[in-house]
């Protein structure tokens, strides 16, 4: 039998969950058209809890993307693609955002690469150039994942010539003093599409770094084609904007849609506070009383 303090604790947890669930609705996103292109907010780097050290299930990632106002996500398993396919199927079934199945090709010590839009697993033991060729053969795009110093030795000239995009915004830039400069240095090596990705594992916020893709159509193929053509815009640290010079004029129209990175503004509503405090109090009661 439960004691009175335990019943009270469970009630507090229930109240917290109800308060939190009331506010937990998909963010309504009106379609944007700029310069004749459909502009889609995309996050190309997300990990699920199914063997990819993420904390959300593949379907949980889809639901989270809706809440973060993203039009598209790539689910990029560590050297596997099946959770991406699962997320893709789920999203199609529920009418969710566009899900691109992908893989984070982990070649430890040499390079990390996002292979988005692939069908089969790419062998990480190859050179980066060979990996990219494999990705392109499958109709996908190759994006350099967090190319900070210390993880770029595999990006030789042959690979850079083939690369479609590189992450210019990654959550690490918000605390690494040289983070933004290191990503800029990498991107300056070759003309590649500017990519913003949250490398979402469950901690932090999905879409905190995102890519605005100027697509001809709101579809997976439309997004992949736009990245190949480098038609992207990304908001970096501070006021910095990266991407196609011809599209920079549209940055002002998109900035208001980008998620706030200010701690004060990103702590949620009063109902969110109630949800957090009551659920935490309830959990404390269960553990301690």
């Amino acid at each position: 039998m439960m004691t009175r303090p335990q019943i009270g604790s469970v009630a507090l947890i229930a109240a917290g969950l109800i308060a939190g669930s009331i506010g937990d609705r998909p963010a309504p996103v009106a379609p944007i058209t700029l310069g004749g292109y459909r502009v889609l907010a995309a996050d190309f780097h997300n990990h699920s809890s199914m063997w990819s050290d993420g904390a959300f299930t593949p379907w949980g990632l889809v639901l989270e993307a809706e809440r973060q106002g993203l039009d598209a996500i790539a689910v990029t398993g560590h050297n596997e693609v099946w959770d991406g396919r699962l997320a893709q199927r789920f999203s199609r079934a529920v009418g969710g955002p566009i899900v691109i199945a992908g893989q984070e090709v982990l070649a430890e010590g040499r390079f990390h690469m996002i292979a988005a839009g692939i069908k089969e697993v790419v062998d990480f033991r190859q050179s980066a150039a060979d990996v990219i060729d494999d990705v392109h053969r499958q109709g996908g795009i190759a994006i350099a994942a967090h190319p900070f110093h210390g993880i770029v030795s595999g990006w030789d000239e042959a690979a850079m010539q083939r690369l479609d995009g590189g992450e210019i915004c990654h959550p690490n830039i918000f605390w690494m003093p040289s983070g933004q400069a290191e990503l800029e240095e990498f991107s300056a090596r070759r003309p590649i599409a500017a990519i913003g990705s949250s490398d979402f594992h469950g901690l932090g916020r999905m879409g905190v770094c995102r890519t605005y893709v100027f697509a001809r159509e709101a579809s997976e193929e439309g997004i992949l084609e736009a990245v190949r053509a480098h038609r992207t815009l990304v908001f970096g640290d501070g006021d910095r904007v990266y991407g196609d010079p011809e599209l920079l004029a549209y940055a002002g129209a998109l900035r208001g849609r980008a998620p706030s990175r200010e701690p004060r503004e990103s702590r949620g509503t009063a109902l969110d506070w109630i949800s957090r405090m009551t659920a935490l109090a309830g959990f404390a009661g269960i553990v301690l009383l």
Partner: protein, 190 residues
């Protein structure tokens, strides 16, 4: 006072008391796994958003269901070599009480998450967090030694602890890191 808090204060007495308490069948088997899973779901919800929603909590519970499963497998290996005087459901339930230090750590982490923005976490903060895990890890190991000695009447409790950790942690880490481990192993071998 909760069983978790009592076991932190007086492990031996609490384990003795638990072995004598009545068994409630299926509820005995699932209540503590559910508590651990809920703790992980709460942690996920607070770490990824500004609210505690049923959606994220349940998702976290599913994602981390492997934790109590791995622990149950670990204690099953030791139980199989014990005198088996207690039903397995009771043994699993009592073994999971040793998660109390981890629950305390999660409680502290969640309280910290309530106060901060979920936008980013610095590398330094991450390293401090990892370092802080040492305290519950050691404390839980001490509790497990008491558990093997008192609940399962084992003598070579240090060996039992090593075996349990090998099974439990290898299984849990394997589930969490999965296929990416292979890339890491290849990198080490190069």
């Amino acid at each position: 006072m909760s069983t978790e808090l009592r076991v932190l204060r007086a492990p031996a007495a609490t384990f003795r008391e638990l072995t004598a308490s009545p068994d409630r069948g299926a509820w005995t088997l699932v209540r503590r796994p559910l508590l651990i899973m809920f703790a992980m779901g709460l942690l996920l919800s607070l770490s990824s958003s500004t609210r505690v929603s049923a959606r994220t909590v349940v998702d976290g519970m599913i994602s981390f269901a492997f934790v109590p499963i791995a622990e149950a497998l670990a204690v099953a290996a030791i139980y199989a070599r014990s005198d088996r005087r207690l039903p397995f459901t009771r043994v699993v339930d009592t073994f999971l009480v040793s998660n109390a230090p981890w629950l305390l750590w999660i409680l502290g982490f969640c309280a910290w998450q309530v106060a901060r923005s979920p936008t980013t976490m610095s590398d330094t903060t991450g390293k401090w967090l990892v370092a802080s895990l040492l305290a519950p890890a050691c404390w839980a190991a001490y509790l497990d030694l008491q558990f093997f000695r008192i609940v399962l009447s084992r003598r070579a409790v240090a060996v039992d602890l090593v075996v349990a950790r090998l099974i439990g942690w290898t299984g849990a880490i394997g589930c969490f890191l999965g296929i990416a481990l292979w890339a890491q192993i290849v990198a080490w071998l190069r």
